[in-house]
């Protein structure tokens, strides 16, 4: 059901996209830090959080009027989920996240632009165990803010930019609710990356 929704969203974007000559593609690679997914205390306090993760994204960029650009971005990252306490860290399983956002970007000052966006994020654990033992959480709403800095680079690198992305979503699972957690936790993610623009978009 959710897979079909994602596919339908993808098809809708492709259909809605204007001529290829107007649309640019941006590919980004980076490193992602995520805050705790769970904080708990059983005798002693501990956290559950993903390790630093490689992150990749692809975005379709459509130039609009007055310097604005519309963006549709698919973003993914994969890392190891850890339980961390005062004595150390224990690897639990692999965790993949996939996020889709739509947003708008505009220049702030020369070489610096800012983007805001809304979308959803979904977690895919490598095994339905632990906090995911009763199933994955559904797609959670996500907000993002991103700044891009385009340094003065020579020829082939002139359309590359450094990007810092911050996004926020809420996390809780059925197993955590069964354990007694009543509220979801805000998860903050920061991604530092390099973006390359292809095609016609700025």
């Amino acid at each position: 059901m959710i897979g079909r929704a994602w596919r339908a969203a993808g098809v809708a974007i492709l259909v809605a996209a204007p001529l290829p000559a107007q649309v640019g593609v941006r590919i980004s690679l980076g490193l992602r830090y995520s805050s705790d997914l769970v904080r708990d205390s059983i005798v002693t306090p501990f956290d559950v959080r993903p390790a630093l993760a490689p992150a990749a994204s692809v975005a379709l960029a459509l130039p609009l009027e007055k310097g604005w650009t519309a963006l549709a971005t698919l973003d993914g990252s994969r890392s190891t989920l850890h339980r961390v306490d005062a004595t150390g860290s224990v690897a639990l399983q692999q965790l993949t996240t996939l996020a889709f956002t739509v947003g708008f970007e505009r220049p702030i000052i020369p070489r610096l632009s800012g983007e805001v966006g809304l979308g959803g994020v979904r977690y895919s654990p490598s095994a339905e165990t632990g906090v995911f033992k009763d199933g994955n959480p559904s797609i959670a709403g996500l907000v993002l803010v991103q700044v891009n800095y385009a340094p003065p680079l020579p020829g082939p690198f002139r359309r590359c930019a450094l990007s810092l992305r911050y996004d926020l979503h809420q996390f809780i699972t059925t197993a955590l609710r069964a354990e007694g957690f009543q509220d979801s936790r805000a998860v903050h993610r920061f991604t530092l990356g390099v973006t390359a623009a292809l095609g016609a978009a700025p």
Binding site: R39, S41, V90, L176, E179, G180, F181, Q182, D183, A186
Partner: protein, 228 residues
């Protein structure tokens, strides 16, 4: 007007982002039973209560199951049931093919029962189990002076009494979970007849009290070290 809406939205977002979910209350009375053996002879310290669980660096714990009958199935099933009791990956077990490399060895004590579908009627004591580990049976001398177990935990299962093969199999499913509970470190029996760790097992799976006890155990400092 637009600016006020924007500020209100930002404030609402900031509150949502900074709110700290409340940690579940777990220290309720009767939510768990005692898991430590007390007192246990650990070297010369006779006052030390034995708390044992497998440390994170020994997980997954290696189990060897007797190759006869359906022991392998019984142990795989019991391990899967125990693993699902843990929310934070505290315990996992794997079957190994070499008993000399196992942390826990599970054998038939005498007769190997027939592998038939289990009886679905009321539970009867058609089997028994024992656990040669900390303070149980001959295992009271199984910990050296430094507090380390000297060898693998040995679990035995066997049919009992004048019961049908189907009743024996139903019993073995229950008792395998119970005995593996001891091998996890639940060294005591539960006082609650409904729990899987009650001495005369009639439960078919761990209860919420069993689960909570195991969870507490795996977050309590262990006083006994696993075998080398």
């Amino acid at each position: 007007m637009t600016r006020r809406v924007l500020i209100a939205a930002l404030l609402a977002g900031a509150l949502a982002a900074c709110g700290e979910p409340t940690v579940p209350v777990r220290d309720c009375a009767g939510c768990a039973y005692t898991f430590a053996n007390s007192p246990l002879v650990l070297g010369n310290d006779t006052d030390t209560a034995a708390v044992f669980h497998w440390p994170a660096n020994r997980v997954p714990v290696r189990y060897w199951a007797d190759s006869r009958g359906n022991m392998r199935f019984l142990i795989e099933r019991a391990l899967a049931i125990w693993e699902t009791q843990f929310l934070y990956g505290e315990f996992r077990g794997v079957l190994v093919s070499d008993s000399s490399s196992a942390d826990v060895v599970v054998v038939w004590n005498n007769v190997v029962p027939a592998d038939v579908p289990p009886d679905t009627g009321a539970p009867v004591p058609a089997c028994s189990g024992d656990n040669h580990s900390l303070g149980s049976g001959p295992g009271t001398d199984s910990v050296d002076a430094s507090g380390r177990m000297v060898g693998p935990i040995v679990v035995g299962l066997e049919p009992q009494g004048p019961y049908s093969a189907a009743q024996v199999q139903a019993c073995l499913r229950r008792v395998a979970i119970h005995e593996l509970g001891h091998s996890l470190g639940l060294l005591q029996h539960s006082p609650n007849p409904a729990d899987i760790m009650y001495s005369n097992v009639t439960a078919s799976a761990p209860t919420e009290i069993d689960r909570h006890t195991a969870e507490l155990l795996y977050h309590t400092r262990s006083s006994v070290l696993p075998p080398p």
